[in-house]
């Protein structure tokens, strides 16, 4: 009961204040319901003093409505024991966990989750790194691809029960994979799969790295060879063929940690952007016929504006400046800044990190998961960043902290004019220096019209952060679905036009962040606007349709073919 009162007070306080004063008044955006949510997951990284490389890189997770009941369930990847063996690598684990969203508990007042891992059929056999979600066979049930330090796994969702189809589907990859993306690269209506692979590390080939003072520390990726990524084309039935070589994506590679698919050059075809750790990133521009060319250097997204490669971990894509093209935000190592690449509309980018005041506030942290989200539904895209070091922090070590890599997470407010302000200090729920955060999953867990957050922290419990401010502003939620009304149309974009003429563009995607999969629904924050003029959807096959008269403050299913068709060459007005 007290919690209801507290929430009510916070809500009243929030509604009385303009958004810009929220952080000044230290109004919490999120409440931490980690210990009340029913998610009893504890991540185990398997650390035993050897400083094995994978233990500090894991892990991510996925928001997946696996039972198709309209709310987001949660899958969190698990690590395990990384044991040294004379013959081969061996792993012990207790597997990732799937939690069913049971909606808001009337007793608690919060959403409640139940562990359904055993019933779900999922048995992850390897040291988990990340997860990607996509309906690979078009049956309307989202499937789950797990990236591992070890063989990856594809779990086919058969009406809420998962079956391991990795081998029959032809998507096994025993390399160390971190992030993956489902995307319809050939626009044939089924989801293809890009798998980002990291380095050629094995426990038997483990190296010992040292820092000044001669003390052992985690190695950098430069101590190992990079591994090529993989691209699998869907045969249309949920089985795949490996087109890594013929597509050209193995021509260059380098320790991939983040992957996003989007049409960066607006030629109607989905391209793939790969964030690499310490070497130039790749922008695989789709040439058609399943061929790709890496144009990252030319496009200005391989290295930062000083021509330097950075240790890229996470990545997100969005039209943050509302100019109808897709921009990129990358997370990096402490000492480097995170980097904002702004698209000029043609698929060529400029590093505008400094201009957006995103440099200084990111330099102290090593950042992994990152998501562009409109946390306060004020119509612009803010940034949430999950941080955690990769070099042992001596002060924390001295204090006896078992995994001395703790760093605070960050929430950055878009203050307009393409600038950001770090408002983390006002947010108690961001656990200052208490966690080693990696995967960042964002979605509307309680379907109340604002974006909630789950952070999978390394070697401890996850953070479940419920947004308590966003839905006080107006909003509109959309699920962009295929003709059957079952399958999310990843890669499609939707343009919302306000009566003022202002347009907001959002893309449907689950990929990005770090080793994680997000809510595939589009959520428009609308501030004080009480009506909109229209929405126009550009589907992945290039066709466009318009919808009018959508009721605000709720989610709608936007089904392909049900809108008013626009001539393909007609510009959106």
């Amino acid at each position: 009961m007290n919690k209801f009162i507290a929430l009510t007070i916070l809500f009243i306080l929030f509604t009385l204040l303009p958004t810009s004063e929220l952080y000044a008044k230290k109004v919490p955006v999120f409440i931490d319901i980690s210990d009340k949510s029913g998610i009893d997951f504890v991540h185990h990284n398997g650390m035993d003093g050897h400083l094995y490389f994978p233990e500090m890189m894991a892990g991510g997770g996925a928001l997946i409505d696996y039972d198709q009941d309209g709310d987001l369930d949660v899958y969190l990847v698990q690590g395990g024991i990384l044991a040294k063996s004379t013959q081969s690598d061996s792993f012990q684990h207790n597997g990732g966990h799937l939690y069913r969203n049971d909606g808001i508990s009337s007793k608690m007042g919060y959403i409640k989750f139940t562990d359904v891992t055993n019933k779900s059929g999922i048995e992850s056999h390897f040291y988990g790194m990340g997860a990607a979600v996509g309906d690979v066979n078009g049956d309307g049930w989202p499937d789950l691809y797990l990236t591992n330090f070890g063989h990856n796994q594809l779990w086919l969702n058969k009406k809420g029960h998962f079956v391991d189809v990795t081998e029959t589907a032809g998507v096994n990859d025993k390399r160390w994979s971190v992030s993956a993306s489902f995307a319809d690269i050939d626009a044939d209506g089924d989801l293809d799969l890009y798998v980002g692979n990291y380095v050629d590390y094995s426990i038997s080939g483990h190296k010992i790295c040292k820092r000044m003072g001669g003390k052992a520390d985690y190695c950098s990726p430069k101590s190992y060879f990079s591994q090529a990524d993989r691209l699998f084309e869907n045969n249309g039935d949920g089985t795949f063929r490996d087109i890594s070589l013929s597509s050209g994506i193995t021509k260059s590679y380098g320790g991939a940690l983040g992957v996003v698919a989007a049409d960066f050059d607006k030629d109607g075809k989905l391209d793939i952007y790969v964030a690499n750790d310490g070497v130039p990133n790749q922008l695989w521009l789709n040439q058609g016929n399943n061929k790709f060319e890496n144009e990252a250097l030319l496009a200005g997204v391989a290295v930062n504006k000083m021509g330097l490669s950075e240790a890229s971990m996470g990545v997100d894509v969005a039209d943050f400046d509302d100019d109808d093209d897709l921009d990129l935000f990358m997370t990096h190592m402490a000492g480097e800044s995170n980097t904002l690449y702004v698209n000029d509309g043609s698929g060529w980018f400029d590093d505008k990190t400094n201009k957006a005041t995103l440099s200084l506030n990111s330099r102290p942290y090593t950042s992994f998961g990152v998501v562009w989200l409109d946390y306060d539904n004020d119509m612009d895209l803010d940034l949430m960043i999950a941080n955690g070091a990769v070099i042992l922090n001596t002060a924390q070590l001295v204090k006896g902290i078992k995994l001395p890599l703790n760093q605070p997470n960050q929430l950055l407010e878009n203050t307009g004019n393409a600038k950001y302000m770090d408002i983390s200090a006002s947010q108690v729920a961001l656990k200052k220096d208490k966690s080693v955060s990696r995967g960042l999953l964002v979605g509307d867990l309680d379907n109340d019209g604002d974006q909630d957050v789950i952070i999978n922290d390394n070697n401890t419990t996850p953070q479940i952060l419920l947004n308590i401010v966003g839905n006080s502003n107006q909003w509109l939620g959309l699920s962009l679905l295929d003709k059957t009304g079952k399958k999310h149309q990843l890669g499609s974009t939707v343009t919302l036009q306000l009566s003022t003429g202002k347009k907001l563009v959002r893309m449907v995607h689950r990929d990005g962040s770090y080793a994680s999969s997000r809510d595939p629904r589009v959520l428009f924050g609308l501030g004080a606007h009480q009506n909109i003029t229209s929405i126009v959807v550009k589907w992945i096959d290039g066709t466009q349709e318009k919808w009018l008269d959508l009721e605000l403050g709720k989610y709608h299913s936007i089904i392909k073919g049900a809108g008013v068709k626009l001539n393909e060459i007609q510009t959106i007005k």
Binding site: D200, G205, G213, G214, G307, S359, V398
Partner: protein, 539 residues
């Protein structure tokens, strides 16, 4: 009292960062009157550096009671430089701040403090500090360079342009200014101007190859995609050089053995072997029994052709540390170069008992065994190498052929199948696998062999694809087609060094003409693909 007096000058801007740098506190912490930030773990530095730092600390302690503010400021500045050179920037920052507090008229400490802030990415602070330094010493032009760069970082293009335009007129600063002016022009969309500036930099300092990236960006924006792509092929990591005596002095203070080793290796990489030896010698003067330096000097001597000296240095290193893997490896390779494979093999074996997963040693030793025809041993060493590089299809290929050369067709086939799964576009693996499928598989295997050779020949008609396709065709009795392809293979062989190196071609041609199944000698083939012995050039 002393502690209180000193700590007054220590600005600890960020408690967390300071704590990060505290390190494992030494046992006599309470005995030191300097704040904890100065109590770093200095292992890994040269004795000389450690002595200098300790001496500087002692001087500060003693001067804190008797010295003037200026003298104490000087001491804080000096110790700041020592920490700056070993990249302990928080301690350096703290020291410079103390120096500036004690003597605000000294431009050096402001300049160096600005450098630390700039390295931290704090352009605003850096700008203000460089400005103060410049006001005190306007003739020290490097300050202007950094002032300009800080302006650029702050997004103040107009100010940056003013600064670099002024600097452009000064001798020795044209290249660095042109580079900055080019970037400003690029940012402002003045593309022709930008291109001209970048070209000027490359004309003045061709080694400043990072400028090619900026040039490519300018071309790109000007719509000159081909020129942009061309420029990107030349892109490197080096910025234009400008003279900065103060920073050069700071860098020269780093006399750690590690630094000498690193610098020496840079010279080795740049093929300046004499300079490398000079640096290694300098390091050896500080630490005469440093195994890493002895080994590095050995390598430099090898490149200079002084094999005798190299052998002696490696042996001395090993006498000091018999298990040193680098010395063992370098000596082993040198023995191979000197055509002593037996001694090389002994050394590799020893090295691999010290570190069984030493990738380079496994690679070199397996190649040596393969080249020497010791295929059984080679197959085992390749297996060990495969364990540590599980995704390397080349290792699998050689492991497979080693097994085939020992007569173990089924295992060779299995390994090659795995290699092809990993690297499906590798024509060589596909071709070799096809022969194993013909030799030790069933009908389905033979069918697969045909598919493989057809696939490879169709996509890459070459000597090898013709040779292997002919083999498979003959194996299944299609002799006419086999003869055609064998003729093509022989023609290609003639063009590339003659038939003598591929005895199977003539032998099998006769067999095909006689309608006989082909003959294949795996050992002969293994010798054919064995990698040549290492040379000094390739080391």
């Amino acid at each position: 009292m002393k502690f209180k007096l000193l700590s007054k000058y220590i600005k600890l801007k960020n408690t967390l960062e300071v704590l990060f740098l505290v390190g494992l506190f030494s046992a006599n912490l309470s005995a030191l009157p300097l704040p904890e930030i100065y109590n770093l773990d200095l292992k890994g530095l040269s004795q000389e550096n450690i002595s200098q730092i300790n001496l500087a600390k002692q001087k500060i302690i003693s001067f804190s009671e008797t010295g003037s503010k200026e003298e104490l400021a000087e001491l804080f500045g000096q110790i700041g430089m020592l920490f700056h050179t070993i990249q302990q920037l928080e301690v350096a920052k703290s020291s410079y701040l103390s120096a500036v507090d004690l003597n605000s008229k000294e431009p050096r400490w402001l300049y160096l403090l600005g450098m630390v802030f700039q390295q931290d990415g704090n352009a605003e602070e850096a700008y203000n500090i460089f400005r103060r330094s410049f006001e005190l010493q306007p003739d020290y032009l490097p300050t202007l360079v950094h002032l300009g760069n800080a302006s650029l970082q702050k997004d103040d293009s107009a100010q940056a342009k003013r600064i670099f335009s002024q600097l452009y007129l000064q001798d020795g600063y044209k290249a660095i200014s042109a580079e900055a002016l080019g970037r400003i022009a690029l940012k402002d969309g003045q593309l022709i101007e930008a291109i001209n500036y970048f070209k000027e930099v490359l004309n003045l300092q061709p080694q400043a190859d990072r400028v090619y990236y900026f040039l490519a960006q300018a071309y790109r924006k000007a719509g000159k995609k081909d020129e942009a792509k061309q420029a990107l092929t030349k892109r490197g990591e080096r910025f234009p050089h400008f003279s900065d005596p103060l920073m050069a002095y700071v860098k020269s203070l780093n006399i750690s053995v590690h630094q000498m080793l690193t610098q020496g290796y840079s010279f080795l990489k740049a093929k300046n072997y004499s300079k490398a030896v000079e640096l290694f010698d300098k390091g050896l003067q500080i630490e005469p029994d440093n195994v890493n330096l002895l080994t590095a000097k050995g390598l430099a001597n090898e490149y200079l052709g002084n094999d005798k000296a190299a052998l002696a240095l490696y042996k001395k290193a090993l006498s000091l540390k018999p298990t040193d893997t680098t010395a063992l490896f370098n000596l082993a390779v040198l023995e191979e170069i000197l055509q002593n494979p037996k001694r090389a093999a002994e050394l590799y074996t020893k090295l691999l008992t010290v570190q069984k997963d030493h990738i380079d040693a496994l690679a070199m030793f397996s190649d040596l065994q393969f080249r020497e025809g010791n295929f059984e041993a080679a197959s085992k060493t390749f297996a060990s190498l495969q364990l540590v590089t599980p995704s390397n299809s080349q290792v699998m290929l050689y492991r497979g052929v080693s097994l085939l050369a020992t007569g173990n067709c089924p295992w060779g086939r299995n390994i090659l199948s795995e290699a092809l799964n990993l690297d499906p576009a590798n024509g060589n693996i596909a071709l070799i696998l096809s022969v194993t499928l013909a030799q030790c598989s069933d009908e389905a295997g033979l069918k697969r062999a045909r598919e493989l050779v057809n696939q490879v020949y169709a996509s890459q008609p070459s000597f090898q694809s013709a040779r292997f396709t002919a083999y498979i065709l003959a194996y299944i009795g299609k002799f006419e087609d086999a003869i055609d392809l064998q003729t093509q293979a022989m023609f290609e062989a003639l063009k590339n060094g003659g038939l003598a190196q591929y005895p199977d071609l003539a032998v099998n041609m006769k067999r095909y003409r006689a309608g006989k199944k082909p003959d294949w000698n795996w050992q002969a083939y293994a010798y054919e693909i064995a990698k040549s012995a290492p040379t000094r050039k390739g080391k």
